[in-house]
Symmetry: C3
Subunit: 153 residues, 3 copies
């Protein structure tokens, strides 16, 4: 079983997959941080221990622009990082050159980190748009190799 972990490409895949998944998971504490500081919650039981008056509780249940921005960023991460990890596994098994594989993984990881910074920081477009497209193309390039190497329909 340890055979998989003797392969350099597979180890590189495991490393970058873990990095981007951890990055994605950090959006949860970030959302919690924005919910706390902006006092904007989604559930009645969350405001029950915080608000005093009924009016104050109602205000806390309204959506906040900053919280919604982090949530959209989290959802975009899920839409892009999970496909990368799933496709990347098959890609690593097709035995690409280590340098080519690393190029894909590094471009993807870099583009997603830049995407998060430009999304949360509300950078002017096309910062966010470009980083999103670069990440998408890296994953499509890996999917192309998978489907052109292995095809059992």
């Amino acid at each position: 079983m340890a055979g998989l972990l003797e392969d350099q490409v597979f180890m590189a895949y495991t490393t970058y997959a873990a990095i981007v998944v951890v990055k994605m998971m950090l959006m949860s504490p970030l959302t919690a941080y924005f919910r706390m500081t902006r006092k904007a919650f989604a559930n009645e039981e969350d405001v029950a221990i915080r608000g005093k008056s009924e009016e104050e509780k109602k205000r806390m249940l309204k959506p906040n622009a900053d919280v919604e921005r982090v949530r959209r960023c989290h959802l975009n991460d899920m839409e892009n990082i999970i496909p990368f990890v799933l496709i990347g596994f098959s890609y690593a098994l097709t035995g690409p050159e280590l340098s080519t594989a690393l190029l894909h993984f590094r471009i993807f990881a870099g583009s997603r980190i830049f995407h998060t910074i430009s999304y949360v920081g509300a950078f002017p477009q096309p910062c966010r748009g470009l980083s999103f497209i670069v990440g998408l193309l890296a994953t499509f390039s890996m999917a192309y190799r998978v489907l052109s190497t292995i095809l059992v329909l």
Copy 2:
């Protein structure tokens, strides 16, 4: 390591997993297309370069029915395709018959493609509902085999 790719069932799994993940990823460009043509965006930086007056920008930030429909379809894909890929991996390792495995993979892939067409095209029910249920049952059937073959609690 290449051992996995000498197995016919695993190669079939890899093929169908790549196909449905690529299908799911194509929802992102489709959402972008609908956002552009319907002029409905989610972020202020997206409308900053498009709108002229403040009033026009505000209008562009309102949710659009077509965009929301594609987004719901994308979310439904994530709720169903990702479990299929995750469960399917363990399923392929349990060594099912190639014909049985292909039956599961083809039914799932077909049902999800039909689901997207009927969701985006707003086909009358129960088109979308049935395709959703068929895909769900295919994944549950694979999960049943995984849990009945391997169970270490």
Copy 3:
């Protein structure tokens, strides 16, 4: 190929991954159940066969608090369970002690089941918050082991 399934840690991983993914998938039928009983739908084609008057149809398209609660729970599952399954795979390959691995898997599965019960049942905080944090820490602990064992940048 069957080599992976001769490893006790990997079999335990497969078992718990299948359990939490099936738990996550059950949120879809639960959402459908709440949509039916609360008569709150998201698409016009869903209400077309149910509502009689235009007014009744419009009412059915309004978001319902119970449905939204289940949907938030489902999304939170996806944000946490999918990273667990992805990281857990690499974690199982690093060859941890069976008892340590089982501890991680059991804590995670337990915390997520309790999370769902406390979310859908609207238990007072910090029930939901704590179960969320426990699950997150279990996954982070596995990611730490993966990145400290394998690191090819």
